[in-house]
């Protein structure tokens, strides 16, 4: 079957509404990034606002320090980079799509420890006067509905961000708790060991079998 790549986690896919021309595509997912992971999203109209966020949810790290962060790049269908965020453990982004087409959202992990990235993207379209003039089925009220939908989507965006951040916070807390317990117990054992060794050593110093009496 081939090697099993590291798992994605938590794909939450939200698909936009279909019936009118004011579509609101969105997608959210969690990806385990070993090196580079890319996701493609199709943006339908030029001028659409593409907004999103991503959060790095650390894996269970016990011995080492927290991951320094990953790089995020957005590439337009023409091939030029629209946005870049470097060395961050989670951020929001927003840009106006210069043209319609397939946009590439890439995560790059510069370090060897795999990281799970949970992210959410939304490309929203609000019909303009131009669209209204072109399509006689479109009512001005559709603009208002589209605006309302976009606001709701932005609320959903925030919620997903909060959820991902909460998840990461939880990982940190659980890891702290585990570390506290294990390190403390290890400390006790070490202390007991060291003091026993001390006593044994001192006894040896004073025992007659050493051959000479140093005191």
């Amino acid at each position: 079957m081939g090697t099993l790549r590291p798992r994605y986690a938590n794909l939450l896919l939200l698909i936009g509404l279909v019936l009118t021309s004011s579509l609101a595509p969105a997608s959210s997912l969690s990806v385990t990034v070993n090196d580079v992971e890319c996701v493609y999203e199709y943006v339908l109209y030029e001028g659409d606002t593409v907004s999103g966020n991503f959060v790095v949810v650390d894996h269970d790290i016990f011995w080492s320090s927290d991951h320094p962060g990953i790089d995020f790049t957005v590439t337009s269908p023409a091939g030029n980079v629209v946005q870049t965020l470097k060395g961050t453990s989670g951020d929001k982004f927003e840009f106006k799509a210069p043209r319609s087409g397939m946009y590439k959202f890439c995560f790059h992990n510069p370090y060897s420890t795999p990281e799970t990235v949970s992210f959410y993207i939304h490309a929203g379209h609000i019909p303009t006067e131009h669209d209204l003039a072109k399509d006689e089925h479109l009512d001005p009220i559709n603009v208002k509905i589209a605006e309302l939908r976009e606001s709701l989507e932005s609320v959903t965006l925030e919620q997903k961000y909060l959820k991902a951040r909460d998840s990461r916070h939880r990982h940190t807390n659980e890891s702290t708790r585990k570390r506290v317990i294990y390190y403390t117990v290890a400390e006790y054992l070490l202390l007991a060991c060291v003091s026993t060794l001390q006593v044994v050593y001192i006894r040896r110093l004073f025992s007659k079998s050493v051959g000479y009496n140093r005191v």
Binding site: M1, G2, T3, L4, R5, R7, Y8, A9, N10, L11, L12, L13, L14, I15, G16, L17, V18, L19, T20, L23, P25, S27, S30, E37, C38, V39, Y40, E41, L44, M102, D139, N142, I145, L148, R149, L152, T156, Q159, L162, K163, D166, H169, R170, N173, E174, T176, R177, V180, I181, T184, Y188, L191, A192, S195, Q198, V199, I202, R203, F206, V215
Partner: protein, 202 residues
């Protein structure tokens, strides 16, 4: 051939799998939520028929390991089920070994809950106009936002409990640490004293 991402101009996710590798996608689904998934291979050469060996195997499993969907050597498909348990559902895609090794591009659309509802049938059933359907969708969306807020609130409360318990555990452990330190020192002192008294050095 079902072309998922161009179907009704709905957006969805597209990702690559190298031949011989696999990718698994997990979705956190709540109990009794409806979920619908569609996947298809993207033709690498537009206008030409899809190569015969361009196939993949798909498995969808529940967090407990029950299999909800399994298809071998297909280039597109879909699945739908109602979640019997809450948790992380896994959809795994396996790309077979290809000679020469190539990358398969897959369009995947997985919706749960509100987004999985079939709005065209709702529109037909009630014979209501497009605007009303839009507003109904918005209403559903608001309800789901509300539920999500409750969920976030619960999670935050769990986390607070966890933090408080860690805090109290740390307090106990620090105190215990001090006790152990003192008792170990005391034991050492007592033992060495009795040892030296026995050796008639003190």
């Amino acid at each position: 051939m079902l072309v998922v991402c161009m179907w009704k101009v709905v957006n969805c996710m597209r990702f690559d799998i190298e031949s011989g590798h696999s990718k698994c996608i997990t979705e956190d689904i709540k109990i009794n939520a409806m979920t619908v998934g569609k996947y298809s291979l993207v033709n690498p050469k537009e206008g030409y028929p899809m190569p015969d060996d361009y196939k993949l195997t798909v498995k969808v499993n529940s967090p407990q390991g029950h299999n909800y969907h399994h298809s071998d050597h297909v280039d597109s498909g879909n699945f739908a089920f109602t979640a019997a348990e809450s948790g992380d559902y896994l959809a795994c895609f396996y790309a077979p070994e290809l000679r020469p090794p190539r990358t398969l591009v897959i369009d995947f659309d997985w919706r749960t809950g509100v987004a999985a509802k079939d709005w065209s049938s709702v529109a037909k059933k009630g014979s209501i106009d497009a605007m009303e359907v839009e507003l109904k969708k918005l209403l559903d969306k608001v309800a789901s936002i509300h539920e999500e807020m409750f969920y976030l609130r619960e999670r935050e409360e769990e986390m607070q409990k966890l933090n408080r318990s860690t805090n109290s555990k740390m307090g106990t452990f620090s105190f215990l640490s001090l006790l152990i330190c003192l008792s170990v020192a005391g034991l050492q002192f007592w033992h060495l004293k009795s040892f030296f008294e026995r050796k008639k050095l003190l």
